[in-house]
C-alpha cells in the first residue's frame, strides 16, 4: 500500500526554539492514523506543518507523490489536504450555510449545492440550523460544522485535531461513528485525540509524540496493549 502522506525528518522552529526534532510519519492511503501525546508534545504543530501554516526548518513533506514542503496552505488545500482545527474555529459571525460555502468555494465550481446537500444529509442538525449564525450553535454542533466545512472540498486527506474535546459522551460516539464511515468512503485520516483509548480503537496505527520527537510508532492494537502507552495514557 502506498503512503498518501509521508513526513521525513521534519523540524519546526518557533523563533530560536526547536519544537519538532526530526519527525517521521507515514500515512497509508485510506487508513486512519492516530497521533497521541501529552499537551505540548507537538501534535498540533505537526498538523500545522502538514497543512502549511508553519514553515519547516528542515525535512520533507510528500503528499500524493509530490513534495509539498514549500507550498502555501491555500495550494495544499486545493490539492486535497483539509484540517479540522482544534477548538473548531468556525466563523461565528457567519451563518452555517456561509461556513459551508467557504469550505468548498474554490474547489467545486458547479457541484457546490450537491455537495452541500450531501453533507447536510450526513449532519441533519446543520440542515435545521442552516441560516443561523454559527456562533449560536452548541459546542457539539460547531464541531459537526467544522468537520462538514473541511469535507466540503472533497479532501483526500483529513487532519482532525481533537474532535472530541468538550463534547458530551453521546456526541463523541456520533463523531467517532462518522470518522469510521468517512474511512469507509475512502478518506485518509490523521487523528489527534486526547482520548487515547478511543483513538487506538478506531485507528489502524498510531504514533506517540513525546517532547517533539516520535517516541514509538506501530499498529494501534499493539500500542494499546504496550506497557508504556497503558501507563502513560490509558491510566492502567
Amino acid at each position: 500500500m502506498t503512503d498518501l502522506l509521508s513526513v521525513r525528518n521534519l523540524k519546526v522552529r518557533y523563533g530560536e526554539i526547536e519544537v519538532l526534532h526530526g519527525i517521521d510519519l507515514y500515512i497509508p492511503e485510506n487508513e486512519i492514523v492516530a497521533l497521541v501525546g501529552a499537551n505540548g508534545a507537538g501534535k498540533s504543530t505537526l498538523l500545522a506543518a502538514v497543512c502549511g501554516l508553519v514553515p519547516c526548518a528542515a525535512g520533507h513533506i510528500d503528499y500524493a507523490g509530490r513534495e509539498v514542503t514549500d507550498w502555501r496552505p491555500e495550494r495544499r488545500s486545493r490539492c486535497g489536504i483539509a484540517l479540522t482545527p482544534e477548538g473548531r474555529r468556525v466563523f461565528t459571525n457567519l451563518t452555517v450555510g456561509e461556513n459551508l460555502l467557504l469550505g468548498g468555494a474554490v474547489h467545486l465550481r458547479d457541484g457546490l449545492r450537491e455537495r452541500q446537500d450531501e453533507l447536510l444529509g450526513l449532519f441533519p442538525i446543520l440542515r435545521r440550523r442552516f441560516s443561523e449564525k454559527a456562533g449560536n450553535l452548541s459546542g457539539g454542533e460547531q464541531q459537526m460544522l467544522a468537520i462538514a466545512r473541511s469535507l466540503m472540498s472533497k479532501p483526500k486527506l483529513l487532519l482532525l485535531d481533537e474532535p472530541s474535546l468538550g463534547l458530551s459522551p453521546q456526541m463523541i460516539d456520533t463523531v467517532f461513528d462518522l470518522i469510521a464511515s468517512l474511512k469507509q468512503q475512502g478518506l485518509t485520516i490523521l487523528l489527534v485525540e486526547q482520548n487515547v483509548a478511543l483513538a487506538l480503537e478506531i485507528a489502524a496505527s498510531a504514533t506517540v509524540l513525546v517532547n517533539g520527537s516520535v517516541a514509538v510508532t506501530g499498529p494501534a492494537n499493539e500500542l494499546a496493549s504496550s506497557a508504556l502507552v497503558r501507563q502513560a495514557y490509558l491510566g492502567a
Binding site: E74, R89, L94, L102, G103, A105, V106, H107, G135, S153
Partner: protein
C-alpha cells in the same frame, strides 16, 4: 430636520472613509494612514481629467478607478512585503507611504489648492418639503446610501464578500479552506480605494478645490470614527462616522459664537467619554485570532 439632513451629509462621508479604514484593519491589522492620500490621488485624477477636457461623468468614474488602482499598487508595493509584521511596523510603513505621496504632490504639482470646476447642477439648492437641500448634499446622501447598500450586498451575497467577513474573524482558517490570502487582501484594498475615491469626490464637491493635504483632516476624523465605533468593526465604522458627523454639525449649529472655535475640542471630549465607558467602541469587532 434641516440639522438632521446636514448631519447625515457629513456623517455619511465620514462613514465611507471610516469603512475603508475598517475593511483593511479588520483583515490585516493595518491602520492605513495613507488612506487620505488615496483621496488626494482621486482628487488630482479628477482635476487632471477635467483639465484634459474629459466630460464630468467620465472624470468622476476615472477618479474612482484611479483611487482603486492606487490602493492596489500601495498594497502590492508597500504593504505586501510587510505582511505579518507588527502593528507598529505596519503603522510606520503607512506613515511613510502617506508622507511620500504628500511630498510628491507638493513638489510635483503645487502646494497651493487647485480649483476644481463643479458643474452648475451640483451647486444648486433645492427646496424639498420645507427643507433646503443643496444638490451637493443630496448627491452626498444618495451616494453614501447606495454605497452602504451595495457594500452590504457584496459582503452578504458574494463569495468574495463572505470570505472577507470570515477573514476578519480568522484568516488562518480561511487559508486552510484554500482561499487565497493575497486575493482577499487585494480585494480589501480595492474596496478601501473605492470608498476613498467616493469619499474624496463628495469632499471635493463641497469645497471645489484640491490640495496635497486635502485627505488629512477627513481621514483623521474617519480614524476617530472607527475607534469610536469599534476598531475593525464595519457596522461600528458606519455608526462612528454618522455619530461623529452629526455631533460636529449639531455643535456647529448650537454652540454660541464665542465657543464655536472650540467645536473639535468638544467633539473629542465626547469621544473620550464614549471610550471611557465603552473602551472597545460602540459596536466592537468580534475577533477570534488573527495571523496572516
Amino acid at each position: 430636520m434641516q440639522l438632521i439632513v446636514n448631519a447625515l451629509g457629513l456623517g455619511g462621508v465620514y462613514a465611507l472613509l471610516a469603512l475603508g479604514l475598517a475593511v483593511v484593519f479588520s483583515i490585516i491589522g493595518l491602520i492605513n494612514f495613507a488612506h487620505g492620500e488615496l483621496m488626494t490621488v482621486a482628487g488630482y485624477a479628477l482635476l487632471a481629467m477635467l483639465m484634459a477636457g474629459a466630460p464630468f461623468s467620465v472624470a468622476v468614474v476615472g477618479a474612482v478607478v484611479v483611487a482603486i488602482l492606487a490602493a492596489l499598487i500601495m498594497e502590492r508595493v508597500a504593504f505586501r512585503p510587510m505582511r505579518g509584521a507588527s502593528v507598529t511596523s505596519l503603522l510606520l510603513t503607512s506613515f511613510a507611504v502617506s508622507k511620500l505621496l504628500e511630498v510628491l504632490f507638493q513638489n510635483g504639482v503645487s502646494a497651493r489648492p487647485q480649483p476644481v470646476a463643479m458643474p452648475d447642477w451640483m451647486t444648486g439648492v433645492y427646496s424639498v418639503a420645507g427643507l433646503s437641500i443643496g444638490s451637493g448634499l443630496a448627491i452626498s446622501l444618495g451616494t453614501c446610501l447606495i454605497a452602504l447598500v451595495a457594500l452590504q450586498w457584496f459582503l452578504r451575497r458574494t463569495v468574495a464578500g463572505i470570505a472577507m467577513r470570515a477573514a476578519a474573524e480568522d484568516f488562518e482558517v480561511l487559508r486552510l479552506l484554500g482561499i487565497s490570502a493575497n486575493r482577499v487582501i487585494a480585494t480589501a484594498f480595492a474596496l478601501s480605494g473605492l470608498l476613498a475615491g467616493l469619499g474624496s469626490l463628495l469632499w471635493i464637491a463641497q469645497r471645489a478645490s484640491v490640495d496635497p493635504l486635502m485627505g488629512f483632516t477627513p481621514v483623521l476624523k474617519a480614524l476617530i470614527a472607527t475607534v469610536v465605533g469599534g476598531l475593525g468593526s464595519l457596522p461600528g465604522a458606519v455608526v462612528g462616522g454618522v455619530v461623529l458627523g452629526a455631533t460636529e454639525v449639531t455643535l456647529q449649529a448650537l454652540l454660541p459664537e464665542w465657543l464655536a472655535p472650540y467645536r473639535d475640542a468638544f467633539v473629542l471630549c465626547g469621544v473620550i467619554l464614549i471610550l471611557l465607558f465603552r473602551p472597545e467602541g460602540l459596536l466592537p469587532a468580534k475577533r477570534v485570532r488573527r495571523n496572516a
